[in-house]
């Protein structure tokens, strides 16, 4: 689906969401239920650099400052973080970390955050946007990737054909929406044949600041041990201090 189609199905009565020439999505709209929703994101597959973080984080902080629990929808179609010497020089990790922190703080303050990946998403920009939300959903055709297959082949020194073969038996490394569902990153894949406004309500109802992605990844057998190990660390830490592990 194109961004216009996505917005049209999410908000059939219209919206106040704009895309800048650079590809930054900002604005707001009204939900099916009548309540407001704040909308930010990255469009057209553009890369996210220091300049792009500023307007997106500014809107998130404006929402977070209000005690009205207005949710934030993050629309994501980005090729990844901007790769450039000057953005790195100015402190890109700090900017991407800042955007993630703003979304995470908004969540902590009672604003549900929902990521919708409708195109690309990769690496550091994925962490700063979609993966910093309470719940991440995707549309079919979305292409999440930590790293592209040729780069993985270069680092692992394995042929791409061999990697594609391995990817049939494990979801742990290869790019693709199915894999991101199996490891627990993407909670659900929406049905584009049905109205998205209804599906947005379902996702918002399921969203929570409690991170369940590791448990989900274990249930779906894509990330077999993470949840159990994180829990074991907690038990051992509290045990060594003579506390009860229950939490």
């Amino acid at each position: 689906m194109t961004l216009d189609e996505v917005l049209g199905s999410l908000f059939p009565a219209g919206h106040h969401v704009a895309v800048s020439a650079e590809g930054w999505i900002t604005g707001h709209a009204t939900r099916k239920t009548g309540g407001p929703v704040s909308v930010i994101g990255v469009a057209n597959g553009v890369a996210l650099g220091t300049a792009g973080v500023i307007p997106l984080a500014a809107q998130v902080l404006e929402v977070a400052a209000q005690d009205d629990r207005v949710p934030i929808l993050v629309l994501v179609d980005t090729q990844g973080q901007l790769m450039g010497r000057r953005d790195e020089m100015r402190g890109l990790p700090e900017y991407l970390g800042h955007l993630a922190k703003c979304l995470l703080l908004a969540s902590h303050l009672g604003h549900r955050t929902i990521g919708l990946e409708y195109g690309k998403a990769a690496a550091g920009a994925f962490l700063a946007t979609a993966l910093a939300t309470d719940i991440l959903v995707a549309l079919p055709g979305a292409t999440p990737a930590v790293m592209d297959m040729p780069s993985i082949a270069r680092v692992t020194k394995l042929a791409e054909s061999r990697l594609r073969e391995l990817a049939k038996t494990t979801a742990v490394f290869a790019p693709g929406l199915d894999h991101m569902v199996f490891v627990g990153a993407v909670a659900a894949v929406w049905d584009p044949a049905k109205p998205l406004d209804e599906q947005l309500e379902q996702a918002l109802a399921a969203a929570s600041p409690d991170d369940v992605r590791d448990v989900r990844g274990a249930e779906r057998k894509g990330r077999p041990v993470a949840a159990e190990i994180a829990k074991r660390v907690g038990a051992e830490a509290t045990g060594q201090f003579g506390l009860h592990a229950a939490a």
Partner: protein, 308 residues
Amino acid sequence: MMQDVASRENGSWLQATARQRLAGLLDPGSFAEFIGPEQRVESPHLPIFDLPRAFDDGVVIGRGTLGGVAVLVAAQEGQFMGGTFGEVSGAKLVGLVRAARDHKQLPQTILLLLDSGGVRLQEANAGELAVAELMRAIVQARCGGVAVIALVGGKAGAFGGAGLTAGTCSRVVVSEQGRIGVSGPEVIETNKGVEEYDSRDKALVWSVCGGKNRRLIGMADAFTDDTMDGFRAAAQAQLAVSKPLDLRTLQHEQARLAHRERTLGGCNDAAAMWTVMGVPDPDAVAGLDTLDFITLAHSIKDANHDAR
């Protein structure tokens, strides 16, 4: 002989292993490990790639004291798979931060000894998600008053997910050798060409992601020489000044980062940025010794803040 270097107080942090760093950082004999190597909690995925595993998967976690103050600690081993975030190594970090978040009786200070190239590509999806979980846990813990202090001075630096993790911490301590970034120089050169970033030009690389630039632009809060004692003293000083994360913190950070983008966005190199920031002699920065550099950094307005 070599293994003794790091155990001395003036031993190199850069050259040391994760375990040597913990021994050099914490009060003698105070470290106790969680999920130690005897439990053999290893990566279930590396054998698929015919790669050797480590009994700790390259992350050491536990507790100890620093100047008598109880702390939780985690150290990435840069010499194993580049200190990368895999399913197991990542889950150990996530579990530690969640434990501090959920149990107020545990030490409410966490020292993260970052030494990582980012996500382990053999476990890319699990590793990326571990970073996302870690960032969420850090922010939630900080909102509850936990101080999370990043120490960066290892050979792998803090790139990719480790760079973003540093960006979510309460305070960041760096040495001159401690590089912080998202994409590494080689990756940028491969994708964008040598005209964009010549990864073999070491002076250029240090000026972009090295500790001195990170300290001057305000991305790191403290600078130390490359010694155990240096990191120990710097970490101790940061314990005293860490504050909980709240809306005001991030509003101030927004103003700080917008100001940096506005004032430095047109700069083509680090010397140009440092000139705008008020460094009197930018060409001399690379050659300054630790004490002179710290004095300089303290005099630069944008380098010193509590908005992180």
